[in-house]
Amino acid sequence: MGQVRRVLREPLGAFGLALVVLVVVMSIFAGLLTQYDPAGLSPRDRFLDPSTTHLLGTDQLGRDLFSRVLFGGRIALYVALVSTAISLAAGIVLGLIAGYGPRWLDNVMILLFDALKSFPTVMLALALVTLTGPSLTAVMVVVIIVNVPGYARIIRTQTIALKSSEFVMAAQSMGASTARILRVHILPNVIGPIVILASMDIPVVIAIEAGMSFLGLGVRPPTPSWGSILNDGFANIRETPWIAIAGGLPIIVTTLGFTFLGETLRDIFDPRLKGR
């Protein structure tokens, strides 16, 4: 509880936490907060202005934008959490192998990580999605490919630093297996900072999902995503600007919330990472 209080004492952290809680609660209880089906067509109600019945108005197919924004939040959070968790797990395993394994393997892996990082993210995403066709899975695969090298590099650097420390050498001399040394002695010492850094990547992942859906390469219609709402808004930006506003606002609120919260958490838990 002490940590939560420390976050709340920072104005920016408290603000970020409030935004994150707001987004999470609204996504979880989306079904209770709106009476409209996010994919329900209603041709008579096309392009309605925001009003008390339709809080954010309706789009070109008469779908209620508020309910699309709420359900779009589920997609954004799902993609962000699942792909971050997978990238984190893969990054930790690969980083431990590169850091603790033989020198040649380390060199090969570093080269692969650097090569992967040299692709411009969106370009790579476009190339892969062309082959697989648009889908959320494709977006998640891209996110994982893009994130893993960064996490693995950080874990590797820390593992190398710990490898020659006294407690690891003591464990080695007592005959502990490599698996045990990695699990019991190294992992607990390297996992903290990487989890914080990964949590700071959540807004980036949300932006990638929204961006791919904006290009029509993420979720398939009629599934609501903030990016696809933004795309509908872009197509009708001259006549009905509120659709674009409705699509962009949740993206801004969510990315700001997670970023403010992440920055505060990092400053509290690991001041060494400041400025990263």
Binding site: S118, M123, L126, T255, G275
Partner: protein
């Protein structure tokens, strides 16, 4: 310096060739083959088979890999499916538009970021410093395509101050620059934040340095010490940061080109996806990747030339 440059160049060549190999592996491993993508869902099996043979996809994987690899190094990424023009020509024709956009983005980010970061460092701990800090984080967080859409909505659609679409009249520089303002803002805004933070942090470090204290002790004017002696050193890390930034700006450029209907590599790739022109997509990915690696090489060489410590630690 020469040894450092040679080593760094060698590393870049290795990274580009590994990236090529990785791209080939990803294309090969991912379900879906380029021949079916090119022909669309209604093509018959016989047509697909014929195209597969023509594209060399029926050959053993090692032969395919070698063909891809050796021709990519020669700059041959195959031909466009529809017109038959060499892909490299099509991509290079669009590259200048994207480069203009990125230079515009750098102008925004450096032009706003360095003064803001410097100002925040000088006024350390003040209210202004806090505001710059929060704003920096905020602009970093918001994705470039949201900035692009909102900028389009505010400055082009509502206020009508700036043009909404296109790259401007060819040959008319002023018109082209006016068309560049909003798209390059979308590309560069996030980097205003990164650069402001970086300059602030390195400025604070430099302001504590002995030579700055000496300059002050000699009674030199404050402005001279801050801008002439401290800032010229404090902006050095910005060069490395921009090297990385250009990679992300290449990604943002895709969105800016689509939102503002500008020509460019991003637009080219997007259209190529819609027309299932797969060779153009891979060609553009490889060209932009090589460009990004080249930019990082130049950034490292610049830093290496300015800072001997970097050279010796490599």
């Amino acid at each position: 310096m020469l040894a450092y440059a040679a080593k760094r160049l060698g590393l870049s060549v290795v990274i580009v060739s590994v990236a090529m190999a990785l791209l080939f592996c990803m294309i090969y491993l991912i379900p879906g083959d380029p021949a079916s993508v090119a022909l669309g869902p209604r093509a018959s099996e016989a047509m697909k088979e014929a195209l597969r043979v023509r594209m060399g996809l029926d050959q053993p994987v090692w032969t395919q890999f070698w063909n891809f690899y050796s021709s990519a190094w020669r700059g041959d990424f195959g031909n466009e499916v529809l017109s038959g023009r060499p892909v490299i020509e099509v991509v290079l024709q669009q590259l200048p538009y994207t480069l203009a956009l990125i230079v515009g983005g750098i102008t925004w980010s450096v032009g706003l970021g360095i003064p803001l970061g410097c100002w925040a460092a000088v006024k350390r701990g003040s209210f202004a410093d806090r505001v710059v800090g929060v704003l920096s984080v905020a602009v970093i967080a918001v994705p470039s395509f949201v900035v692009a859409i909102y900028a389009l909505l505010i400055f082009a659609v509502s206020l009508r101050w700036l043009p909404a679409i296109g790259a401007g009249e060819p040959g008319h520089l002023g018109d082209q620059l006016i068309h560049l303002i909003l798209p390059s803002l979308a590309v560069g805004l996030g980097w205003v934040g990164y650069i402001a933070r970086m300059v602030r942090a390195s400025m604070l470090e430099v302001l504590e340095a002995p030579h700055i204290r000496t300059a002050r002790a000699f009674g030199l004017p404050d402005a001279l010490v801050t801008y002439r002696y401290a800032l010229t050193i404090a902006i050095l890390p910005t060069v490395t940061l921009l090297g990385i930034g250009i990679g992300q700006m290449l990604s943002s450029a895709v969105f800016a080109e689509i939102v503002f209907a500008r020509p460019g590599v991003g637009r080219l790739v997007y259209d190529a996806i819609l027309t299932r022109n797969f060779p153009v997509v891979t060609g553009a990915v490889l060209v932009t990747t090589a460009f990004f690696v080249l930019v990082n090489l130049i950034a490292d060489l610049v830093i290496g030339a300015l800072d001997p410590r970097v050279r010796s630690s490599f």
